[in-house]
Symmetry: C2
Subunit: 422 residues, 2 copies
């Protein structure tokens, strides 16, 4: 792989106007529509080669007509969004004829490692083109044929509009290893997938990594103000998609509300959810005792614990959580304020399902991943997380010697309402 | 060191109001004023123990009355700045009674390693308190007494206002090593100092690192439209503070302007700057030839190269530069547009000195460092780079099952003009 060429092309891509990037997106959506049958054929090869994978994986791998429709409408949605680039984020008059601008620019070259879901490839490529970033893709190997064909189509559709190395598909793990070593050419790695994959990548590259290793999300029952509402939210947060990262793994119930636990456990049982408890609950209800609280079941199973106070609940979440998504169930305003302010996590829900933590549901159009990082981008990452900025000063010969020591008060530092242009 | 306690306290600090954080800053400035003589005494101990360090280092180490005045006025300036926390960055109505907010919050725990400059300690602590971050400090060992005393004073002044572990001073390299291993408790490391230090840290921690290893900055002479202006900017960019990261190391001259080189070299010589050339220039002017273009002299020495075109100049900068600061000298608008758009760097100057790349000069009040990263924060990093955000959804019992599949078009996704509150 020649990663240096990708870096070079990223500079050219960054300088293209928004119309040109939108035109590239439009051509991608047209070719997907046009070649729909061929795409399905390539996907069928993958499906035939992977008849024995679990049903959930098989369903993700499969490109139905409705998924192809969603790809196309997803691209249309992206085209309609404002251009995230060349926005003047700050304009300051430093002195007469000396103006500072902060202008949004792409990050550069982004490597994305994702699951065996060919529709994710189209979504990731579209987000990267819209945000002016070159993308290096490595999809799950089960989707090899679909990914190869989709990449070919996208390259064909965008040839001449965007630089040649705008999109690069890696096909082997060796390629991924190689990519992780090129920190001089690659600016960001976004791994989507298993805990082990993300941890492996975090430990094996100097390139910044954006994503989440695990999703240990919590529901905290502060006050049983509406039994059916609370049960409904907990069941949805656990069962609507049990393997999703934003599904809950632990339920914390305040001691004052302990009378609700029996009823809650019956609802969980009825929804097919196995419950493990803290020692107190385990004894009382004769269920298995939890040995590790930082644990992601990723299945219809949950941990349940009694806490003495909201403070103990918050401490538990901050200690054992993964900073992904947590929900408080209460009608008490003080508790809401305390929880939203003290829980250190990327998404906090008040009386609604943790499953809402998602780029589409947040209205970002799409997401390139969900981040539990504490810098750059947190939570579902859309276009905003794919840009950075550059400072530009327009001067007329000013030098710092004229603004140093006692002369440093010459600076005006006045905000101006002006967009960057030359 | 008990880093877990610092993490715990960071959550409490994050939840304090802006008035309280400002009050803490005010008390710090008062105690510095009050104990001015004792501070100077502690500093004298450092100065006496380091009589043999180079003059430049000695001057940085020395706390004069005017530096103490600057510390105090710097804190006053910070107090006056808007609170960077609890800003509603985005508010979206997802559906009736289901509102998404994006609210600015501190990053958490930040480790800063800095040079032997006691005034930097006060600046860094003030920026961290203003932005609600717990800070772990390790200053240059030459300033040990000053740093210890200043930390004591700050802790005394802020006791009861901010949590106990808000400020932690590390005194040994072993402590730093230990800190780098605690990625579960520390969210960001900002190393200021030598190239080797920054590279060592980048290679020895999983914690994100913000900063720059080197500053290989360039001046590109595109058009000699005003000889004295161009010479003035180049001399200032090199000599105003030769060891600063934003000083230039390489001058690129477009071949069409080559006639200017002789005159430029004389000016450089008169300013005490040694010049090394590309093979063509080295031969012509009998000066040493440059062997490595990615090189930071940090002294009164510079590399000079002829390039055939602006494209070659930009390629050279993108290949050998460090993404710190570059300047174009020209009166040609097309060249300005090309350079500002294609040079991949954190700060681009048009006809003014590269030395302007600095938090104070940019009007950020102060800076915690300068970053050449491509994510989170780039260029001089002020308060903006010390905050991140949290998503909060306020609901009334909504679950995702009611917004899935065909029902996913129930989302309104309407921007609302509302600040987050409960």
């Amino acid at each position: 792989m020649n990663f240096e060429n990708i870096k070079k092309d990223s500079v050219v891509l960054a300088s293209l106007g928004g119309d040109r990037r939108n035109e590239a997106l439009k051509r991608i959506s047209l070719i997907i529509q046009e070649k729909r049958e061929n795409i399905k054929k390539a996907n069928e090869t993958d499906l035939n080669e992977n008849r024995n994978i679990p049903v959930a994986l098989y369903n993700r791998l499969k490109l139905s007509d409705s998924k192809i429709d969603e790809m196309i409408s997803g691209i249309s949605g992206l085209i309609e969004l404002d251009d995230p680039l060349n926005k003047t984020l700050l304009a300051t008059e430093l002195d007469d004829g000396l103006e500072l601008y902060k202008v949004s620019v792409p990050i550069g070259v982004i490597g994305v490692i994702f699951e065996a879901r060919p529709d994710a490839l189209v979504q990731i490529v579209s987000l990267c083109i819209k945000s002016g970033n070159c993308v290096i893709l490595k999809g799950g190997s089960e989707a090899a044929n679909s990914n190869r064909y989709l990449t070919e189509l996208i390259k064909e559709a965008t040839a001449g509009l965007v630089p040649e190395h705008c999109i690069t598909l890696l096909e082997t793990r060796e390629n991924v290893k190689e990519m992780l070593s090129f920190d001089q050419y690659i600016d960001l790695i976004i791994p989507r997938g298993s805990n082990d994959l993300v941890k492996y990548i975090q430990s094996n590259t100097k390139i910044p990594v954006l994503g989440h290793a695990d999703g240990v999300c919590h529901a905290y029952v502060d006050q049983v103000f509406d039994e059916s509402l609370i049960k409904k939210i907990i069941i949805d947060s656990k069962t609507q998609y049990p393997s999703a990262c934003n599904s809950i793994e632990t339920i914390l119930v305040k001691r004052s509300e302990a009378a609700f636990i029996g009823e809650l456990m019956e609802s969980l049982k009825a929804a097919g959810v196995r419950v493990n408890g803290c020692s107190e609950i385990a004894k009382k209800f004769c269920i298995p005792e939890v040995s590790e609280w930082h644990h992601e079941y990723g299945d219809l199973e949950v941990s349940l614990k009694i806490v003495d106070s909201i403070d103990e609940g918050i401490d538990h979440i901050n200690k054992y959580g993964s900073g992904h998504t947590e929900v408080i169930l209460t009608d008490n305003n003080e508790s809401k304020i305390k929880f939203t302010s003290l829980v250190d996590t990327s998404s906090v829900m008040v009386n609604c399902s943790t499953r809402f933590a998602d780029g589409f549901r947040y209205g970002f159009g799409a997401e390139v991943g969900i981040s539990t990082n504490k810098i750059h981008a947190r939570g579902p990452v859309g276009l905003d997380g794919l840009v950075i900025y550059k400072y530009i000063i327009l001067g007329r010969g000013q030098i710092v010697a004229e603004y140093s020591g006692e002369k440093s008060d010459r600076f005006k530092h006045a905000r101006i309402d002006k967009k960057f242009s030359i």
